[in-house]
Amino acid sequence: MSSTTAPTDAAPTDPIGDEGLSGTPRAQQFAEGNKLEVGILWRITRMGLAHRWRMALAAGATVAAAFFQLFIPRYVGEAVDSAQGLLGAGAASPEMAREALFAAGMMVLLFSVMRGLFTLMQNYHGEGIGHCIGYELRLAFYEQVQRLSFSFHDKVHTGDLITRGMLDLEGVRMFISTGLIRTLLLTVLIGGSAYLLMNTNLTLGLLALSFVPFVGWRSAVARLKLRWMWLLMQERLSVITRRMEENLTGIRVVRAFSAQKFELEQFETASIETLKVAIKRVTVRVANTTVMTFAFFTSMVLVLWFGGLQVVDGEITVGVLAEVLTFMMILQMPVRQIGMMVNSFARASTCGSRLFEVIDRDPRIKDQEAAPDLKLEKGVLRFEDVRFSFGADSSDTRVLDGVSFSVGPGETLGIVGPPGSGKSTIAHLVPRFYDVTGGRVTIDDQDIREVSLESLREAVSVVQQDAFLFTASIENNIAYGDPWSDGERIARANRSAQLHDYVAKLPAGYETLVGERGVSLSGGQRQRLSIARGILSDPSILVFDDSTAAVDAATERRIRMALREGQDKRATVIISHRLGSLMHANEILFVEAGRVVERGSHDALMAQGGRYHDLYRLQSRPGDDHGVEVAAPGEAS
């Protein structure tokens, strides 16, 4: 087995209990592990620093914007004093005062413009870095999703992966602008204004700033609390969503059982649960915002009181008082943003750990170093005493236990057995979707673990049980394995799969959109499309994994006839529970509980009178003697 540290290695075979990734509910996770992971934040920061120019511009603009912001109150204060004509201890001439006023006014205008421009630069580049990082992370995540092995995807819910790739990625991306840049801005602004205010007047400065620690602390606490409640709320909402969605999807069952009342009660319970959290959340939010505003105005009252007294006593000018009050107006917004900043840190840390958990994972199935390409000579697929289990390899969790066979070009191998006997697993081992736990799988005597995955999977094609259709045209779907194949080849493959006539009749023909947002195909049509897809690239080894279950017997027979062309160069494995599909095979394996219990040709197995024989009887119609779905004349070999 290739080396990984993935926890999936130790996972039990049961797919329910293990989710492969830390799967605790988000709210709970947040409540328990609400610690800032410095390593993750530093990693995001490093990604940001890689965009050197943008980062420099953003940081420089931030400092400049804060600087201009800080000096506006100074000129306002000067203007007030000039207007009062008190400059230079009341000795200023009206002209000088007028000039001073004009200068102050122009400075305020200039500084406002500069502040605006630098804020623009700061925000634009801050966000820009975020988008660049977002782009890089998207690519990394996408690539990783494509690389991670089946064993990973078996255990991780698609919904979970999508959440990580979308929402968590957003949380990480936003860190640069809402976390990093904002921290810089707030540090310069609050630090700078504290310095300036204290210099202007120590007592008043302290009073004016007295609301800062309080509001900062409150807003940070509240943010975290609110975020936690938000996550809790999302969880409650997802319960409602699930209830509604299942009800509407299963509306026929609901009505068939006259269960509307029952369903409404269930919905009501979920609604009330949600409402409770929602109301609590409103209370927390409102209590905090109002208390913060109150604190701010209270310190303004204090400033006016003490400052006023000092003015009355002639210790300071009215201008100084005005300046301090203007400072307070300026600080009000950024101080409230401390909460957002803390939130951003928490969010980036949680989201980052979830995102990087996926990105950093080492895929279990990967190329060995400098693995050579598969050298196809004849195309003989061989299983040598193959054992396989999903979890730890012990005899009772074993899915395959000593399976051996060989199938060469022009030959067909049939595999049959009860559900859960390991048939599909055999199909999945051929393109190395999983690695064997014991024994080996070879193609032309090369162990498939020692050749490059790309060359292996190009030589092998597995037509899977569940045909996945991409939201794209039928043509694109068939050409999935080779997007450069021409229309002629695509039509030929589709003709063999007996789907061409149907497609040709569609108004848009091969351009018809299928998949999630396109026309819906029936189960049988989907499987036929998947067959066309599988045979398009003319693989040396073709495996049908129960891929005609939904195709009717007559059509399946036609497909089989069509595939005879070119079969002499190809090794074919057919897995099916319908004996009609595989009774013509050169060799048939009857698999039960991971072991081959019977093997031989149809005739030999029938003569043997064992399980195969019983199954054959079961599938023939009682009273009829002409066998399973009457093989076409001359077909059974």
């Binding site: 007030v80 009062q84 004009f102 006014g105 003015v311 017997a553």
Partner: protein, 624 residues
């Protein structure tokens, strides 16, 4: 992109389809009909809302008053020559009182509105959901669940934004008017001069808005395209790996992701361009106050306090404008969402109990169709003049090619739809004369696709019959042969079925839905046999379970499998909505009609038979 640069023609490949934006984002900002209907939902909370509005007004008044208090202090107690300690202390006291009032009003308004908004949202969602439980099934058949869910979620959420903030819009509007009024009354000329910057802002906005909107839309679209491509890769990963499409997909996705980034950068530019505009205008207004106002102070025509107050007000002036712009877009979205929500609420209820509907207590289990004609679309009947009877305890198979009306016929027994002509009787009562609830007690259905809900196996089996005992559930499971596999699940009967039982095989799900029907214990059982092929082992189990299920009940079975058909007492052959043949298997074979023809073809399922073939057989049957 090197992977895609192939000398041959371009690849036949895409990732993530283009999103069709059928959900309109911006609509009219005001729609009287929508507003009136939603007023109805707010009525229960009107007392709270009135108090909230009063609080908003008080809150806004205190907001406007605070700079005035400061102004008064400066002019009357602090300015050179008029310093007055006592007055200052009095003013500070008043200031304190205003601040406390501000706090109280603020708390009250936000709290009341927030709570009411949450309640209204739940009420709306409940109203829609309740309504959907009663609308006709044909509406549900026509409508994708995804579309309904987007009404129940996205549209309700869009209203949330609006409701939570709508009352602040009132506050913002009053604040804006208040500030303008105060500025003009403090000093009319200076006020007018200062406010002269406002038109500039509006002009800028008008130029900016359409471009920005387009940029934002593009960014949203690019985002959903990229996300769609990612979701597709995740869902189809097994095919991707099996077909070695990783490189091509990555190159295509790279393109999508890059488009997304560029669209967002453009949108960011548009969003941020506002900052310097507003800052410049604020700075300009302050400069006007400083230069013009300052000179007036020097000339003795303006009080210093007024000048300081102007500076304060100007800094606050742009906040309400900014938030009102935001409000406006919330409102547009809310109107569109509101219309969509109303659409759901206005779907007519097709099947309703008569006022004097009978509560059918007892039912002996007979089914009778008398000259039934029925269809979903006017003038396109699906069933034409169909009559048949099923005696209590009898099992009848409905057979016929796809589209022959089998499923519709069974749906009528449960009165999923009302018929056009004729009568459907259950237990001797016309189904339209009894309550739907009581009809449901006597008619159980097993649908073709076994549908399980997220929850334990136990809860799924006793679905709705919440008073069913554990023993009853286990007995039912044993009867259909599901007990053994349930026991082997990690938590037995308490195992949670994730994602509607995706962790069970189709056959197992089928058996669970059989067990569910047994627990429901109805006299009449309607069964739509699964067409999907199931392996022979499960098949055998299901046949056994089916026999168990039908024991002592009246059965109407849409049969696809020969084995099932042969187990029934009688067979009714439907084609094109008309009854063609009726009788036992042997009788029908002897009659050499359509059934005999189908049978001789050896299809595993009659659904495989093409229409032309069925027609041919029907003709052949008619001619013999």
């Amino acid at each position: 992109m090197s992977t895609l640069e192939d000398s041959r023609h371009p690849p036949k490949a895409v990732v993530g389809s283009q999103v069709s934006q059928d959900e309109e984002m911006f609509g009219r900002a005001f729609d009287g009909r929508v507003i009136r209907r939603f007023m109805g939902f707010c009525r229960s909370y009107r007392v709270a809302l009135w108090i909230a509005i009063v609080s908003v007004l008080i809150y806004t008044a205190t907001q406007v008053a605070i700079p005035l208090v400061i102004l008064y202090a400066i002019d009357n107690a602090l300015v050179a020559g008029a310093r007055d300690r006592d007055l200052l202390e009095l003013v500070v006291l008043v200031f304190g009182a205003v601040v406390v009032l501000n706090f109280g009003a603020n708390f009250l308004q936000e709290n009341l509105v927030g709570r009411a908004a949450e309640r209204v949202l739940i009420d709306l969602r409940r109203a829609m959901f309740t309504h959907l439980q009663r609308v006709s099934l044909s509406f549900m058949d026509r409508t994708e669940v995804g579309r309904l869910m987007s009404r129940l979620q996205s549209d309700v959420n869009a209203l949330q934004e609006f409701l939570e903030t709508s009352i602040f819009a009132v506050g913002d509007l009053v604040l804006l008017v208040g500030i303008v009024a105060v500025l003009l009354s403090l000093d009319f000329q200076l006020g007018l001069l200062t406010l002269s910057i406002v038109p500039i802002l509006f002009v800028m906005r008008i130029i900016w808005l359409p471009r920005a909107r387009e940029a934002f839309m593009k960014a949203r679209e690019a985002n959903s395209v990229a996300n769609g491509a990612l979701a597709e890769a995740i869902h189809g990963v097994r095919t991707v790996q099996g077909m070695v499409r990783e490189k091509v997909n990555f190159a295509l996705y790279n393109d999508r992701a890059r488009q997304n980034m560029l669209a967002h950068l453009r949108a960011a530019k548009f969003a941020q361009i506002n900052v310097p505009i507003v800052d410049t205008l604020t700075g300009g207004a302050m400069a006007i106050v400083i230069v013009v106002g300052g000179n007036q102070v020097l000339g003795g025509t303006l009080d210093l306090g007024v000048m300081v107050a102007f500076i304060f007000y100007i800094q606050r002036f742009f906040d309400p404008i900014r938030s009102l712009t935001l409000q406006y877009s919330f409102m547009q979205r809310a109107m569109v969402s509101g219309q969509r929500i109303l659409e759901v609420l206005d779907v007519p209820i097709a099947v309703e109990d008569k006022p004097d509907a009978i509560d059918m207590k007892e039912c002996e289990g007979s089914i009778e169709f008398e000259n039934v004609t029925f269809g979903y679309v006017k003038d396109q009947p699906i069933l034409r003049n169909v009559s048949f009877k099923v005696a209590p305890g009898e099992t009848v198979a409905l057979v016929g090619p796809t589209g022959s009306g089998k499923t519709s016929a069974t749906a009528l027994v449960h009165r999923f739809y009302d018929i056009w002509e004729g009568a459907v009787r259950v237990g001797g009562h016309d189904v339209r004369d009894v309550t739907q609830e009581s009809l449901g007690q006597h008619v159980a259905m097993v649908l073709q696709e076994p549908f399980l809900f997220t929850g334990t196996v136990f809860d799924n089996i006793r679905f709705r019959c919440t008073d069913a005992s554990r023993q009853a559930v286990i007995d039912a499971a044993k009867a259909v042969g599901a007990h053994d596999f349930i026991e082997k699940l990690p938590d037995g009967y308490e195992t949670i079925l994730e994602q509607r039982g995706a962790n069970l095989s189709l056959g197992q799900r089928q058996l669970l839905s059989f067990a569910r029907a047994i627990v429901a214990d109805a006299k009449i059982l309607i069964l739509d046999e699964a067409t999907a092929s199931i392996d022979s082992y499960t098949e055998m189990q299901i046949q056994k379970a089916l026999a168990k299920l039908l024991e002592g009940r009246t059965g109407l079975v849409i049969a696809h499998r020969l084995a099932t058909i042969r187990g029934c007492d009688r067979i009714i052959v439907l084609q094109d909505g008309e009854k063609r043949e009726e009788g036992s298997h042997d009788e029908l074979i002897a009659a050499k009609g359509m059934y005999a023809g189908l049978y001789s073809l050896n299809y595993a399922s009659f659904d495989d038979v093409s229409d032309e073939l069925a027609d041919g057989l029907a003709d052949a049957g008619a001619s013999t």
